[in-house]
Symmetry: C2
Subunit: 210 residues, 2 copies
Amino acid sequence: MRLAVFGTGTVGQTLGAAFAGLGHEVVLGTRDPAATRAREGWSSDLPLEEYADAAAGAEVVVVAVSGGGALDALAAGGDLTGKVVLDVSNPLDFSGGFPPTLSVSNTESLAEQLQAAHPEARVVKSLNTLTAALMVAPTSLADGDHTIFVAGDDSEARATVAGLLRELGWSDIVEFEALEAARGMEMWLPLWLRLMQSFGSANFNLKLVR
Amino acid sequence: MRLAVFGTGTVGQTLGAAFAGLGHEVVLGTRDPAATRAREGWSSDLPLEEYADAAAGAEVVVVAVSGGGALDALAAGGDLTGKVVLDVSNPLDFSGGFPPTLSVSNTESLAEQLQAAHPEARVVKSLNTLTAALMVAPTSLADGDHTIFVAGDDSEARATVAGLLRELGWSDIVEFEALEAARGMEMWLPLWLRLMQSFGSANFNLKLVR
């Protein structure tokens, strides 16, 4: 499968490397490839292109930029018709310091905003509920016995994402048949951030016990 | 210990009966005891008094009314000086149908509103993250191997609540040293509600895997 991963921070690099390691064709997308390559410490071997070039030919576009940049990045993604847009971002607003608040919540979600801006694409929310290292290596914690969520209006798009999750090692996948459920997934972040502070580590996740 | 449980719905009745069963002196508080007793199906054997009478002499006041009624109920609670106020309520707004949104969230929480209205009391948030039957019988699910949160600014008040939780059978208790963490605990509800819809059951909880 060909994937475009928008975002060159920890999440984008981690996801890009993991999907490439699974044998997928991965291109990282960024606003200004030359600037990203010139960044101190930049060391990714993955192809790096402008958003629209990265997305061209990709079946899945992963939104792994910061929440504040997600709408702009996707707007620069060219023709997204029919593509699965896997939204991993969180609408964190750090303007008031730490812990951040959410810039959108409760009656809306960032994932729904992305879908509304791109009705031609099929947005699926997933992987936003935990730290990047665990996204791609769930079995490194409790033998993978913890939970990941998938929300989206399009069942085929959800199945595509769930398939990628299984490739990464996820087994406890809870699917929501409406993208609106992304509200709850994004609203998990305030508790997640408190827990990270309290544990002094991001190496945790929730397991739904039922 | 003497506890006043404000609220005569499922949560109040369940918590009241459980604490009484543990040997505590429990009084249920309600706005109009005669109206509550006249309610069809009312069958609690616990003493039932107006809020202020129920709270008089109680060391712990449990707020187990609906979120929309929490501030009014506590305002009717008389002198709360030094009392532990265990807030179990959730600020659910059903005016737009199901699933409800939150009437307060993100930059504030209902628990903080209760504390602000009653600086003379010591508010602790807990037990709002799961269904009533599991609040009082955690070991009925996965041998109790799941997580409960406690948030509050006063360490002694948190310890009092944590003690009650242990009596109920809770062992995995995560304490937050600031009531502000109640924001995250209340913002868990939108995801909880989606999960309840998806599972067709409220008999689940989260376990923090770390």
